[in-house]
Symmetry: none
Subunit: 215 residues, 4 copies
DNA sequence: GCCTAAGCGAGACGGTACGTCGTGTCTTACC
DNA sequence: GGTAAGACACGACGTACCGTCTCGCTTAGGC
């Protein structure tokens, strides 16, 4: 079982960084369709085998390239990578507006958008990668979102029965969809309307009905 | 300008049908990654050039394969393809439940799911294809959804100011997201909860804030 | 059976010629160890697949490159490719000297030597190629050599029982060996001594002992 | 200058033996084309560097593997490796028959044949290796052959002017050629005919004409 | 009996070439 | 002129070895 995996202790961190940087550059310059393992290796000044040795797929490289982007700009190995926290001014409406507007801004930044788009494409046909993404990227962020909503709920700003998990999806899925497919403008107004409507749902009585009648 | 376009009158309908059928079969059997123009041509007993002559990209073939699936099972060229209508029993809540549960069922059908997934992947990197999809497939369906909500609004089941376009997105985007990325179970319960929460939003006062400051 | 072989009628003769020319050039420039399919394809301006489609191995390409060298310098498709004839002045000794000296000269010509050396290396590990070589290149030449010796034998210049096949091998194998391995100088003197000694053997009485006691 | 050469005193004889044994095994099992440094190292349980440290090329390893085969099966470091002696019963004809038949038998033994064939291939493109082979393996054997012929010559069994060096080549080159390229059966009959004809040449008057007219 | 330098197993590394697959274009022969 | 067939130049795939390089670990002598 342990016999096939290479020893991470021997891994050359310079090569790793060069590969991730090359991946980001190529995505920003030419888009996902032009991203090939050969070009990454050539740009990074690295043998192809070094990529195949450490990543199971091109999607996994893209994933790491994106992760590396979020991490330590330069300094220490990031304080506590798992702890994400949303702003809490006491006003759930304003706070969500802030957060969704920030997300809209991220989607407008090519340096972030290009690798993320590439990652989504890979995830759609690679369930393993999708699971990895959920576990390592999405899960902590979603947890933070739910936490913020729960605080608001406890403070009486949301209905005690509100279906908080669903509210999170209703907030973000429309955003993601417009970004991925261009099905509509992706601006602050859209973010604001999403917040307004999602919070209406979360304030209504009898929101959650988890008496799951199985299909 | 006219010199390059092939004459559609001379097009061989048997070849066209064979190509679309082969595309669907290959997608169902082996998934999107294994779908190649060469395999489609071989399976359809058709020259590669016949595909390149009539479709601008592989995504366009997939699109047509999916369209052909929705159309006339065998008989006439379908009465009026543009006219979609949602059920209207007078109870918006029940009707939406019916419709979303049907969508959930569609996503569970491999014959439908495989080409649609392939199409989504293509659209994410092909804006032209995405625009085509919106115009020819999504637009009429979305129009029907909005129509049904407007009827309910006019009957007083929804708030007069409800942001109906947004409600449609909040209903369907979470569904699509779970399907594409597997971010959660995709069942009747989820559909029902979506309907419940979206309608809460649509019944709240002051829903829409159409003081749309365009970006 | 016939299904796997490509149709030679569709073969592009310009590509074929370019491949063989590139092979000869690369061999002359850098020797056998530097000869790769990729370099041949690049130099010939040809896709690798075009080589793999028409030749079963690198050795087969080298073989054809060598054959093409011997054929039609430019004009017609060569009169009768199979008919080789050695000089016959009536003096077997002088004629053999002429022929072996010519062989020595050939081995000194890099344009001929390089591909032939490459071909020998391939043949040593590829029995199929070796058989092909014997059938298409060596056989007609050996037949001509035996013919010339037989004429001399009929004219009484050689013993009636002389083992002519063996004499041919004793004439040429030492030449080939010195060429391949550099086991000694390869000059006209060596050629002359080979002729002298081989003819001594061919003139001795009781040369052949075909009372083959099988091992 | 002395800084780069490793100290032979520190060489691990167990590794050396394992490498040579692995080389022979791999050659016998899969032939020359499958012989790689990596496979040798893996089979021998040795680091690649240990091979690169002590041998300049793969051919050199093969050479040593072959040498080790001829040497001491296990015991002492072989009496005097340089001293080879051909049988001498007083009958040159019978003795040569014995020796050539033994050579034929060697070529039929895969344990000996496989490394020797590999060595020949290397020598054809590696002049240094060829020179080494001549000096350390071929020279003493050829010297013994010439010695035996000279003895026969002194006893009047061969002509006083016989070109003994050439006779040796005419005896062995045809044998080697048939072995390497499979140009004909390699059996006792062939060996016997070679001896008969070569000795005819060696008994004829005026054999050698070393009045070398330089080309 | 310690120290240090070498050989050693292991295997990551930057590369080159392999042989295969798919792309989109072109050509040939048929209808 | 559309079509089935498939050759073509091209480029990427994922794998195998190359020869070099760094790691710890053993294993001498030399002190």
């Amino acid at each position: 079982m342990t016999s096939r995996a290479p020893d991470p202790g021997r891994r050359n961190p310079r090569s790793r960084a060069a590969i991730l940087a090359a991946t980001r550059e190529l995505l920003a310059e030419a888009g996902f369709r032009a991203l090939t393992i050969e070009k990454i290796a050539a740009r990074a000044g690295v043998g192809k085998q070094t990529i195949y040795r450490w990543w199971p797929s091109k999607g996994a490289v893209v994933f790491d390239a994106l992760l590396a982007l979020s991490e330590t700009p330069e300094g220490a190995e990031s304080g506590t990578p798992g702890t994400v926290e949303l702003p809490d001014t006491g006003d759930i409406d304003a706070d969500l507006r802030t957060v969704l507007r920030a997300t809209v801004a991220e989607f407008a930044d090519p340096a972030f958008e290009a690798p993320l788009r590439a990652l989504y494409i890979e995830m759609i046909t690679d369930a393993d990668l999708a699971a990895d993404y959920r576990r390592r990227m999405a899960a902590p962020i979603n947890e933070a979102k739910r936490r913020r909503l729960r605080t608001a709920q406890e403070q009486g700003q949301l209905h005690p029965d509100a279906d908080l998990d669903l509210i999170v999806e209703m907030l973000y899925a429309p955003l993601t969809q417009r970004w991925l497919l261009g099905t509509g403008p992706l601006d602050r107004d859209f973010a604001d309307r999403l917040v307004t409507n999602a919070l209406h749902a979360a304030r209504a009585p009898g929101a959650a009905a988890p008496d799951d009648q199985r299909e």
